[in-house]
């Protein structure tokens, strides 16, 4: 027994998927709850991927409790660019990009002290950025740098990394998009904070039109460059890696986020068990069409 397919009078044959359909038709059948930790726990996810020879960013140091906060500077000796992340954060919250120059730390160009970084880590440990504010773990990770092919989509002065979101149903690629940081999003690639989504043609691996805050766009709103028709670096490689991940994490409907690193090529940034729906706007195509 179901409510009529749609309670609202919209044109029939619409292949766009809403949240209700995503949950009922995709996430509940394909993603078993007991496998969620495999992706929600970023460190565990990285370990699973590494065991299967899928490249991920290097973890420098894990802070699970306040004592291990003491020696992080030793562990990061010689590392001048790094990221501090909450292990079970969501939506990019609590992620900080840090640069070290002449023994001093900078976050988005602003000088900060070691105590500031320690405080941020304590916040993470106390669950300030985790779901339901449960106690969390923080870790230091290698800071990835945009491949020139990705950087070409981003205003030059922006520090943030863009990523490639791939949606899989099991080993089958469903849809892909580039997520790009903008001035508006403060260097974050999150679409709800003003980042850009740019659709990717699955056959050619080239960019399509994009989306900005639920609107369809053809040009970058800040650089005014056209978005369409540029090749996404390593797209084939990403598809090869991505097709194996569903089986590795035990989840049948996932969003895989890759970063194309200037030095190391494609690396999995994280895997998402509840991938968002804005990818449809970026691709001007419905997920329902491709899935059902």
């Amino acid at each position: 027994m179901r409510l009529p397919k749609n309670l609202f009078p919209i044109p029939s044959g619409i292949g766009v998927m809403g949240i209700n359909a995503r949950n009922l038709d995709m996430i509940y059948p394909y993603n078993r709850r007991n496998c969620f930790p495999n992706v929600d726990d970023k460190l565990l996810c990285k370990r699973l991927l590494q065991q299967n020879d899928i490249p991920t960013a290097v973890t420098y140091h894990v802070v699970a409790d306040p004592p291990s906060l003491r020696n992080w500077e030793d562990k990061l000796a010689g590392v001048d660019h790094f990221v501090v992340k909450p292990n079970t954060g969501y939506g990019g919250n609590g992620i900080v990009l840090v640069t070290r120059r002449d023994g001093r730390y900078y976050i988005s160009g602003e000088p900060v002290t070691r105590e500031d970084i320690d405080f941020h880590i304590m916040q993470i440990l106390n669950g300030a950025f985790s779901l339901d504010n449960l106690a969390d773990t923080a870790f230091f990770e290698h800071k990835l740098v945009n491949h020139p092919g990705i950087q070409a989509f981003i205003p030059p002065e922006i520090e943030g990394v863009g990523d490639v979101r791939l949606i899989y149903r099991q080993e089958q690629i469903v849809m892909a998009m580039l997520r790009l940081p903008t001035r508006e999003s403060g260097g974050k690639a999150n679409l709800h904070q003003g980042g850009l989504g740019v659709g990717i043609d699955l056959d050619t691996g080239c960019s399509l039109h994009g989306s900005h805050r639920n609107n369809v766009i053809t040009h970058h709103p800040e650089t005014h460059e056209p978005l369409k028709g540029r090749p996404v670096p390593f797209f084939r490689d990403m598809l090869t890696y991505g097709a194996r991940i569903s089986d590795i994490v035990g989840l049948g409907y996932i969003g895989v986020d890759f970063v194309c690193d200037r030095d190391h090529g494609p690396m999995v940034l994280e895997v998402n068990a509840r991938p968002g729906l804005n990818i449809q706007i970026a691709n001007q195509a419905g997920l329902r069409d491709r899935l059902i």
């Binding site: 766009v16 038709d25 496998c35 369809v216 590795i248």
Partner: protein
């Protein structure tokens, strides 16, 4: 780790709601048909919360205050009585068919506030007097005293006799005719003037005008002269608001029945639905010791209640467990608590509809319903204003706390404390300024408010103030709808009488839980590509 695909059982999804609906229907049918549950018991009727406030200043000498109390009679039901007696001794005295509450102390110093509250439900009653009844009727000994004259009702005076003659009242006529002649004269022959103080029957006749008391005494005097036992009735006309006025009308004895008449408001053999009887015969509504700066007033609030008292009559049935109301009454759990518990599954309907069908975001999934519970004591408007004030205040505190860079849990504890202090302040202000509704804020769910403040601040920080304000507005909106559902007296009556209603909403939730169509807001979100596809 191979992926395991599990699809929902379509059969179970279809069968379970159907079973729930059937179970609910069977239970309701059984209760109506075999246990005598009456749908009338569910239908709400109008009632009033009657509050009488008596205030005085004691100077150390003995104080005595008494007041006539209403009682349950064929035309009225009095329930949930409560007395506030401060440090005075209180007792209820029943005498001559009347009930009086009396407060006494040997010496009270300072201002005291006494009170009586009750829920009263009154009904209209009409009587038909047989037009063939002879003027002379048998008078039992018990009502013989209602033929006597007294100092205010001069039934034996020659002037009353002359007036009766001139009105054509005679033993040769019928009883109805005589009553009508008296009623017509007192009602239309005397002008109504709102006198304060007592007017006796003769004075009212002499000056040709009277208030309700004077008209009623003259009517009683004429009736007694004509051999019809008659008595004064004192009471209150029910109308929402504060007042001090009481009302007087008349009962005439007709063949074993006391039949009401009101010459002031023109009710013939009828008591209207807004008359509350407080006492019979000549007596003051309130008596009090002199020189104590005594004040009193009524405060009446209209309420719609279901006639749930009627359901307690089913107590003796072995399947009493079905009668939630009676069961809870015996378990000594507050009936107010029962109302909250039993209405919560109904209240979250608003949350479910807004989230899954309309698709708006609120702070926390069930937060709006929990906020709505907090409004039960403050009312909707005050509750919404207080919610806004507390969130704004809390967000202000949270903003300053940001500079201290506190850890998450201690920070929440500081906000909670600030919210509690703010609420205490509001309560104090409310009490001292006489806004009792504001004082009720003390019952606000503070932890829920604290979490709301925290979510508001987090959203404001992460996604901007616009988004936070928008979500606060939506939270208010959903809470308002949840409140409307939970505070509806009608729905309360239905659910308390038939708790199986909850099975129906569960069936509805399962049904909505399988809705895979668009949420209304998604039409907006995807409008650009939807438009394109429809081309």
């Amino acid at each position: 780790m191979p992926v395991i695909v599990r699809h929902s059982s379509r059969l179970a999804v279809a069968v379970i709601p159907a079973l729930l609906v059937i179970a609910a229907s069977v239970m309701a049918f059984y209760k109506i048909t075999y246990l005598g549950y009456n749908l009338n018991a569910v239908i709400q009727s109008e009632s009033y919360l009657l509050e009488t406030v008596l205030e005085f200043d004691g100077h150390g000498s003995p104080v005595e205050v008494s007041m006539a109390l209403p009682q349950s009679l064929p035309n009225q039901t009095v329930s949930d009585e409560a007395f506030n007696s401060a440090d005075l001794k209180f007792e209820v005295v029943e005498e001559g068919g009347n009930r009086r509450g009396s407060w006494a102390s040997q010496g009270t110093v300072g201002r005291r506030r006494l009170g009586y509250t009750a829920t009263v439900m009154t009904r209209n009653q009409r009587f038909l007097i047989d037009s063939t009844l002879p003027a002379v009727q048998p008078i039992p000994d018990s009502v013989a005293q209602f033929l006597l004259a007294d100092s205010a009702i001069q039934a034996d005076s020659p002037e009353i006799a002359a007036l009766a003659d001139s009105l054509g009242i005679a033993e040769s006529r019928t009883l109805l005719d005589n009553i009508d002649r008296i009623y017509q004269f007192v009602t239309y022959g005397l002008r109504y003037v709102n006198y304060s103080g007592q007017t006796d029957a003769l004075t009212a006749y002499h000056i040709g005008e009277a208030s309700c008391g004077g008209k009623s005494r003259l009517m009683v005097a004429l009736a007694r002269h004509a051999g019809i036992p008659a008595r004064l009735v004192g009471g209150k006309i029910l109308e929402a608001g504060q007042s001090t006025a009481t009302h007087i009308w008349v009962d005439l004895y007709v063949r074993g029945y006391w039949v009401p008449f009101c010459p002031t408001n023109k009710y013939f053999a009828e008591i209207p639905s807004n008359y509350l009887i407080l006492y019979y015969n000549e007596q003051p509504f309130i008596t009090h010791t002199r020189d104590i700066n005594f004040k009193f007033y009524f405060n009446l609030r209209k309420r719609l209640v279901s006639n749930l008292a009627g359901l307690t009559g089913l107590k003796s049935h072995p399947l009493d467990i079905l009668n939630v109301w009676a069961t809870f009454k015996r378990s000594a759990i507050s009936l107010e608590l029962l109302r909250i518990i039993i209405m919560l599954p109904i209240g979250v309907l608003a949350v479910v509809l807004f989230r899954n069908i309309i698709g708006i975001e609120t702070f926390g999934t069930f937060m709006p319903a929990l906020i709505a519970i907090g409004w039960r004591d403050t009312g909707l408007l005050n509750g919404a204003v207080l919610f806004t004030l507390i969130v704004l205040f809390g967000a202000g505190v949270r903003y300053f706390l940001n500079r201290l860079q506190l850890l998450h849990t201690p920070r929440l504890a500081v906000i909670l404390s600030a919210v509690v202090l703010f609420i205490l302040l509001l309560t104090g202000l409310g009490v001292s300024m006489g806004f009792l509704d504001l004082a009720r804020v003390a019952l606000f769910p503070m932890v829920i408010m604290t979490l709301t403040v925290e979510r508001f601040s987090l959203i404001a920080e992460e996604s901007g103030m616009m988004k936070a304000v928008k979500m606060a507005f939506f939270t208010l909106l959903v809470a308002t709808c949840a409140f409307a559902l939970m505070a509806s007296r009608f729905l309360q009556a239905v659910v308390i009488s038939f708790p199986e209603t909850i099975l129906l909403v569960v069936a509805l939730y399962i049904y909505i839980g399988r809705y895979s169509g668009f949420r209304l807001m998604e039409l907006l979100r995807f409008r650009h590509i939807l438009r394109q596809e429809s081309r």
